[in-house]
Amino acid sequence: MSLHEIIIAGFGGQGILSAGRLLAYAGMEENKQVSFLPSYGPEMRGGTANCMVVVSDKEIASPVLNVCSALIVMNNPSLEKFESWVKPGGVIITDSSLVHTKVKRSDVKVFEIPATKLATEAGNKTYSNIYLLGKLLTETNCATPESFEKALYGILSKKKHYMIPEEMEVLKVGMGY
């Protein structure tokens, strides 16, 4: 049985919620049960944002998480808030361009990727979340790159489809980082 309970957290505007929706959509493409629960409210205006994504073979009991198997964080406060939520043996992926505090846990796998820096150098800052998602796919197998690509086509509006090949390249960099 596979059960992925994923939390993605950072600031509003970093693509936190889009990243979560993409994962849920990719899971659906693989005929898995999925749920996506965003934080809502003033977060939209640039405060903290987070979302909870569950991808499972079986009926999802709760879309509201109190622990997770994987955590992606894109700012310091999010690491502070969610570090303790990760189950032993779980995965923490940080955007090390923005998260400067170190993960204290020793019973989880930690990956630091300077995603915002990489994205800025590559010319599109909005791709930073994709690097991190790439690493998540490699470490958890919660979805295949193929279904992730389908998710991009399913979620992005048609006028943004031209960006997808580039985003898939970014995903692959993230996967191999």
Binding site: A24, V34, L37, P38, G41, V64
Partner: protein
């Protein structure tokens, strides 16, 4: 098999209403049900429907009263403070026996409160938030798929009994995305409405939609009729889900998103060898008393879990009538009960009854 989509709860309610034949929506903006309104604003004009942003919740519910009077399928949606404003119209709709569907995506109160999820409008929904001896049918979905299925069903129930039906959700259900299948339209029923005020065309007596009866003897007769209807609904429309109740030591009672959290608790407890079950009321009015009779002998105790100070708890106690101990745990103000909150209470109860 219908189409399968990953959709947000609020949007699914809107799409379900449209598929159920609702072409009239009147609303006023409020978080966290906004996406429902946006969806209606976008979709209704493309299918010849009516979307109207009213000047207030008070006006919106009265527009619903008008549209329902003509026999059309009609919906409004709001969140707690807005639902309070609608209570005047809700009481009139109850008095005039009009079918209508009202969505309450609850947030924490009282007053302006907050915008995070809550279940603190249970009393208001099930006991009558407006004045007078009335009820509406209250449905409590717990998944995005159920938001679809129960919204369709809400229109059928409303038309069948000439009654309002409320979809009682919360911010979690409204905001979350899950995969939804738009089931085939065979569940969508249509009803004759000879009572409607839609123009008599000189072919019948004039119809009158009203809730005023100044002669108390007449008004009492109306009320007796209402109560007979509510009793019929109590007999015929109770819905609930039993989850792992067969050999449960403690049976949890929870509805909506909290029921989902409880399922998580039950699964996690099972791994530790603790047997818990769940009664999930799907109809809050009528309260599913049958569910309790079905499993009453099984557990040592019942534990009601809510995002409120313990509102459904009263119905649970009234149903169990002291035959088994009933406990409560809950969070308020937009806080969501955690697995730990619930397990702490479970352990406390187990110790007491060991």
């Amino acid at each position: 098999m219908g189409q399968k989509l990953l959709m947000k709860g609020n949007e699914v309610i809107a799409e379900a209403a449209i598929r159920a034949g609702c072409r009239h929506y009147f609303g006023y903006p409020i978080t966290p049900q906004t996406e429902l309104m946006h969806y209606m604003a976008k979709k209704m004009p493309t299918i010849g429907g009516v979307f109207m942003q009213a000047e207030s919740e008070v006006a919106a519910i009265n527009m619903v009263y008008g549209a329902a009077s003509t026999g059309k399928r009609v919906m409004t949606s709001s969140s707690s403070p807005g639902i309070s404003l609608k209570q005047e119209g809700i009481s009139y709709i109850a008095g005039a026996q009009l079918p209508a569907v009202i969505v309450n995506i609850m947030r924490g109160g009282p007053g302006l409160g907050g915008i995070q999820p809550s279940q603190s409008d249970y009393f208001q929904a099930t006991k009558g938030g407006g004045h007078g001896d009335y009820h509406m049918v209250v449905l409590a979905p717990a998944s995005v798929q159920e938001l679809y299925d129960l919204t369709v069903e809400a229109f059928n129930i409303s038309d069948r009994y000439r009654i309002m039906t409320m979809i009682l959700g919360d911010g979690v259900l409204g905001q979350m995305m899950e995969v939804v299948e738009f089931r085939d339209d065979e569940n969508i029923e249509s009803f004759d409405k000879p009572w409607a005020a839609n123009g008599h065309d000189n072919k019948r007596e004039h119809n009158m939609i009203t809730s005023i009866h100044l002669d108390p003897a007449v008004l009492e007769q109306w009320n007796i009729g209402f109560q007979e209807k509510y009793n019929l609904i109590r007999q015929k429309e109770q819905r609930y889900e039993l989850y792992n109740c067969e050999d449960a030591e403690i049976i949890l009672v929870a509805y909506g998103s909290v029921a989902r959290i409880c399922k998580g608790v039950i699964n996690q407890a099972a791994e530790k060898g603790i047997k818990l079950g769940l009664i999930r009321p799907i109809t809050l009015f009528p309260f599913p008393t049958n569910a309790f009779e079905e499993v009453l002998d099984i557990p040592k105790a019942f534990l009601t879990v809510e995002m409120s100070s313990g509102q459904m708890l009263e119905d649970v106690k009234l149903t169990i009538e002291g035959r088994k101990p009933v406990y409560f745990t809950g969070r308020m103000g937009g806080m969501i009960p955690t697995v730990n909150d619930i397990m702490t209470k479970v352990n406390e109860i187990r110790e007491k009854h060991s």
